[in-house]
C-alpha cells in the first residue's frame, strides 16, 4: 500500500471570503454560470464556469456548486507544485494557471468535488481552474452581482469566524 502523504508543511492559511447560495431563493436560471465564464474566459459556457447549477427538471430541485473556500483547504495542502495561493485581499484559494501541472490532486482531494464541477479541468490548457472570487473585480464576485433574485451572497472573510 502506498504510504499516506503528509500534508505539505504549510501553515493554515488566512480565512477567505466565499460565495454562498440560498437554494430556497435560487430560481435556476443559470445566469451565474454565464457571467462567470464570460468574465473569466470571454465566452459563455457552463463547462468554463467556476460556479455550477445542477438542476433536475423532473423534481424541480437544483443545486449550486461553488468552491467553499475552506478554512483548511485540502486542495491547497495537497498541491505538489504550490500552484494554489491565497489572494491577499479576499483570502480566496486561487489556482495560478501558469504554475499548475494538471495533475488533478486538488480535484481529488476536495471533499465537495464529487461531481467534478468545483475544481474543473480545462481540456484546452490542460490545467485546473476554480472559483477565485473574481480576484481584483471592483464590484466583487460577478455571479453575486448578476444573480437576479439575490440567491447568491458574498460572505467577506471578516464575517467568517476563522482566525487569520
Amino acid at each position: 500500500m502506498p504510504k499516506k502523504r503528509e500534508p505539505a508543511a504549510r501553515d493554515i492559511p488566512p480565512a477567505s471570503g466565499k460565495v454562498m447560495a440560498d437554494l430556497e431563493v435560487c430560481h435556476q436560471c443559470g445566469i451565474c454560470e454565464m457571467v462567470c465564464s464570460l468574465y473569466h474566459e470571454g465566452a459563455c459556457s457552463p463547462s468554463l464556469s467556476r460556479i455550477s447549477l445542477l438542476r433536475n427538471p423532473f423534481t424541480g430541485e437544483g443545486v449550486v456548486e461553488v468552491c467553499r473556500q475552506c478554512a483548511y483547504p485540502d486542495c491547497y495542502f495537497v498541491c505538489p507544485v504550490d500552484a494554489i495561493t491565497i489572494d491577499d485581499e479576499t483570502g480566496a484559494r486561487v489556482i495560478v494557471e501558469e504554475e499548475c501541472n494538471g495533475c488533478g490532486k486538488c480535484a481529488q482531494s476536495c471533499p465537495f468535488n464529487e461531481k467534478g464541477t468545483i475544481l474543473r479541468h480545462s481540456s484546452k490548457d490542460k490545467v485546473y481552474f476554480k472559483c477565485d472570487l473574481c480576484q481584483g473585480r471592483e464590484a466583487g464576485p460577478a455571479c453575486v452581482e448578476a444573480c437576479p433574485w439575490k440567491a447568491l451572497t458574498f460572505i467577506p472573510r471578516k464575517r467568517r469566524r476563522v482566525k487569520g
Binding site: 457571467v35 464570460l38 463547462s47 423532473f58 423534481t59 424541480g60
Partner: protein, 664 residues
C-alpha cells in the same frame, strides 16, 4: 484562426433514410440571415419545393438557434423549429414553432447552430449528439413511452446533464396538434411538429455539449445585460409575476415556486409544482406550469382572463402533466377543442365523447379525452385531426369553428374574438388582425408586443403615458390612442412583424422583448445608462446586444432592414410554394366581424368594418412594397432588400402564371 462570436459555426444535417450525417458552415447564411427564422427561411427557399407534404420524407424538420442562444443575454435560451406543419388548415405549409428551456443553449455548447433532419427512419430512432459527435440510436425501447419517461430514461442512459427534445404517444400517432417537449413543460406546441417527428420515427434528440459561445465584447456585454436585468426584474408586466402572489398555503402544500421557463432568464414566469397528488389517479405530479398550462391551475378568483371551466389545483396539475406527457398542444386544447366541444354541447350537436359526457369541470372527462386523442381511439381518432378537420369529418360544428379559429387552423390568440379568454378590445385587435392576416400561423408566438401590452399596461398606466411611449416606438401617438379607430394600425403591425422576426432569429423571448415599458424610469419608457456605453433606449437594445455579442456593428435600422428581408423571403416562399395571395390574407375577415369579447374605452361592443379593414390592407401592401392586387412582394422590393435570386424566382412564376392565363 478567426474567432467567430455569437454563432458557433456549424449546422448539422441528418438524413434518417440513408443514415448520413454531415455539417454545413453557418457562415453560408449568417450574418445576413441572422439565425433562427432567417436561416430557416433561406434554406426553405433553396430546398423546400411545392408539393412537399407534412408527412413526406422530403419534409425537413429544422431546429435553429440564434447568435444570442446560450449566452448571458436575458431570456435567450431558446430555439426555433421549422417544418411543413400538419396543424395548418386546410393545406399544411411551412411555418415555425418556438421553444424555451435549455435545449437550444446545449446545442450551441455542442458546437451546432442548428439541426436539419430529413428522411424517415425505418424503425424508431433517436439522435445522440455528444459535442458534435452524432449517432443515430435505436429507440425501439422508447416507442410508446410518454414524454417524461422518455426523457428520464435518456437522462439515466446518457447522464443527467443532457438536454432533450422528444415526442409522446400523440406525436407517434401523428396527432395533428402534437407537440415536441423538453423538460416538463417547454414545447414547440403550435403546429403539430410532434407528428412530423413521429412520421420520421424520430423519438428524441439528446444533446450534451461542453463547448462555449464566444462573445466579442465580454465586459461590455456583462455590464449591459446586468443593467437590463436590474431594470426588468419586477417589471415584467403591470403586475408582479409569480410567485410573489402565490397562495402561501399552496406554497407550503406543493412546494410551489417561481422559476424561469428558459435558460438565462431573470424572470420567474413559471410556477414549479412539486409532487401534487392527482385527482383521477393516485399519482404525484411535478411540473413547471407557464403560459397555457397555468390555466389549468388558475385559482377561481384569479385576475387573469376568464374561462368557463375550473379544475382546481390537484386536478389542474394532473391534466397539465398528462397533456405534456402524452404530447398534446395545450393552446389547441384550451382555446380550441374544449370551447368547441362545450359550444357543440350547448348547441345540441355533441353530448358525449365515447360515453363520457362533455364536461370541462370534470377531470375524469379530460383524462379520458386526452388519452383517446393521443392514442387515436374511438372518436379521439377524429379529434386528433384538429378541430377544423374534425368538424369537416363529423359534419358538425363548422360554424363554431369559424367563431373560434381566425385562420390556418389555429384558434384565436390576443385578437379580441373567439373564446372568452381572448380579452383585447377595440381598436387594438385591428393590428392583431393585420398580423394574423399576413403570417403563416398564429402570429402571437412572437407578436405579443402590441396588443397584449396595451391590454395589460392600460390597466396601470394612463393612455396619455402610453401614447407618449407609442410615439417614441412607432412614430405616432395614434398607435396607442384608444379612440384612433383604424388610424395608424398598419405601422405597428409591420414594426412588430419585424420585431417578431428578430426575436425568432436572435433568439429572444416574446414576453420579455421588446423592452419598451418600464416601472423604474420616470417616464416609464425602458432605458439604461451604463458608464462607458452611455444611454441606450429600450428600442435599441437588440441592435446593441447584437453588436456586443457578434462583434459585427449594426444599427437598429440595419437590423430591422434584415428582418424585413427575412419577412419578404418568407412571403416569397408562401407565394412560390403555396400560391399565397391577398385573397388568403383577407379570408379571416368574417372571424373579426363578430362582436368583440371585451368592451374597450369606446364604450360599445365593436366588430370589424370590412370596408375600412380592406382599405387598411391596401395601405399595408403599399407600405410593404407589395402588389396591392395579388399581395405578392414586388420584384423591385425584393431587389432592394438584396434578394435578387428570390426576385428572379418570383418573376419566373409570374411569367408562367401569365402564360397559363393567356392560354386559358
Amino acid at each position: 484562426m478567426k474567432r467567430t462570436c455569437g454563432w458557433v459555426g456549424k449546422i448539422l444535417r441528418v438524413d434518417l433514410s440513408s443514415k448520413k450525417v454531415a455539417t454545413i458552415p453557418t457562415e453560408e447564411y449568417g450574418p445576413e440571415y441572422v439565425g433562427g427564422r432567417g436561416i430557416a427561411a433561406r434554406i426553405a427557399w433553396d430546398e423546400l419545393f411545392a408539393g412537399v407534404g407534412c408527412f413526406d420524407a422530403a419534409n425537413p424538420l429544422m431546429i435553429m438557434t440564434g447568435p444570442f442562444t446560450g449566452t448571458m443575454v436575458p431570456s435567450s435560451g431558446r430555439s426555433e423549429f421549422f417544418t411543413v406543419a400538419p396543424q395548418i388548415y386546410p393545406n399544411p405549409w411551412f411555418t415555425r414553432s418556438g421553444i424555451g428551456g435549455w435545449f437550444g443553449s446545449e446545442l450551441k455548447y455542442a458546437g451546432l447552430d442548428g439541426i436539419i433532419v430529413e428522411g424517415k427512419a425505418e424503425n424508431p430512432v433517436y439522435l445522440w449528439i455528444n459535442d458534435g459527435k452524432v449517432r443515430i440510436v435505436s429507440a425501439e425501447d422508447l416507442w410508446g413511452q410518454d414524454a417524461y419517461a422518455t426523457q428520464q430514461y435518456l437522462m439515466r442512459k446518457h447522464g443527467s446533464g443532457v438536454k432533450i427534445v422528444c415526442i409522446g404517444p400523440a406525436g407517434e400517432n401523428l396527432v395533428r396538434w402534437s407537440i415536441i417537449l423538453s423538460d416538463t413543460t417547454n414545447a414547440a406546441g403550435q403546429g403539430g411538429f410532434g407528428a412530423v417527428m413521429g412520421s420520421k420515427k424520430l423519438k428524441a434528440i439528446v444533446v450534451k455539449g461542453s463547448g462555449e459561445v464566444n462573445i466579442a465584447s465580454a465586459k461590455e456585454l456583462i455590464d449591459f445585460c446586468l443593467a437590463i436585468t436590474r431594470d426588468y426584474v419586477g417589471c415584467a408586466g403591470p403586475t408582479e409575476r409569480p410567485p410573489a402572489k402565490a397562495d402561501p398555503e399552496l406554497q407550503l402544500a406543493y412546494g410551489l415556486k417561481g422559476m424561469p421557463c428558459s435558460h438565462a432568464c431573470p424572470w420567474r414566469w413559471g410556477w414549479m409544482w412539486r409532487e401534487v397528488p392527482g385527482k383521477v389517479y393516485p399519482s404525484l405530479n411535478t411540473i413547471l406550469t407557464k403560459c397555457m398550462s397555468t390555466d389549468y391551475v388558475r385559482c377561481k378568483d384569479s385576475a387573469g382572463p376568464p374561462k368557463d371551466w375550473y379544475l382546481g389545483e390537484r386536478a389542474g396539475v394532473e391534466v397539465a402533466t398528462l397533456s405534456n406527457k402524452l404530447g398534446l398542444n395545450q393552446w389547441e386544447l384550451n382555446v380550441g377543442l374544449i370551447p368547441w366541444l362545450e359550444k357543440c354541447k350547448k348547441g345540441g350537436l355533441l353530448s358525449h365523447i365515447d360515453g363520457h359526457e362533455i364536461d370541462a369541470n370534470n377531470p375524469e372527462f379530460w383524462v379520458a379525452l386526452l388519452k383517446k386523442i393521443s392514442h387515436r381511439e374511438g372518436i379521439g381518432d377524429t379529434l386528433a385531426e384538429g378541430v377544423p378537420r374534425a368538424a369537416d369529418i363529423l359534419g358538425k360544428g363548422k360554424d363554431i369553428v369559424k367563431e373560434l379559429y381566425p385562420a390556418y387552423g389555429f384558434s384565436g390568440h390576443w385578437d379580441g374574438h373567439g373564446d372568452r379568454y381572448n380579452e383585447p378590445f377595440f381598436p387594438f385587435w385591428i393590428t392583431a388582425a393585420i398580423q394574423w392576416a399576413t403570417d403563416t400561423r398564429d402570429p402571437l408566438n412572437s407578436g405579443h408586443g402590441y396588443v397584449q401590452n396595451f391590454t395589460w399596461w392600460s390597466k396601470v398606466r394612463s393612455w396619455k403615458e402610453l401614447m407618449r411611449i407609442a410615439e417614441i416606438v412607432y412614430g405616432s401617438k395614434k398607435a396607442a390612442d384608444p379612440y384612433a379607430g383604424y388610424e395608424f394600425k398598419v405601422e405597428p403591425a409591420i414594426w412588430h412583424q419585424h420585431e417578431s422576426i428578430l426575436k425568432d432569429s436572435l433568439l429572444l423571448c416574446d414576453q420579455a422583448w421588446p423592452r419598451v415599458y418600464d416601472l423604474h424610469t420616470d417616464d416609464h419608457y425602458a432605458r439604461v445608462t451604463i458608464p462607458g456605453q452611455g444611454r441606450i433606449d429600450g428600442k435599441f437594445f437588440e441592435a446593441h446586444l447584437f453588436t456586443l455579442v457578434t462583434g459585427i456593428r449594426v444599427t437598429d435600422e440595419e437590423l430591422r432592414k434584415r428582418a424585413e428581408a427575412i419577412f419578404n423571403l418568407e412571403r416569397a416562399l408562401q407565394v412560390r410554394n403555396y400560391h399565397r395571395s391577398r385573397e388568403n390574407d383577407l379570408a379571416l375577415i368574417p372571424y373579426f366581424e363578430t362582436p368583440e369579447n371585451t368592451i374597450g374605452p369606446t364604450g360599445k361592443r365593436e366588430s370589424l368594418d370590412r370596408k375600412k379593414f380592406t382599405k387598411l390592407m391596401d395601405t399595408y401592401y403599399e407600405m410593404r412594397g407589395w402588389d396591392k392586387n395579388t399581395g405578392w412582394p414586388t420584384t423591385a422590393k425584393l431587389r432592394e432588400l438584396g434578394l435578387t435570386d428570390v426576385a428572379e424566382g418570383l418573376e419566373k412564376l409570374l411569367l408562367r402564371s401569365n402564360q397559363q392565363n393567356s392560354t386559358e
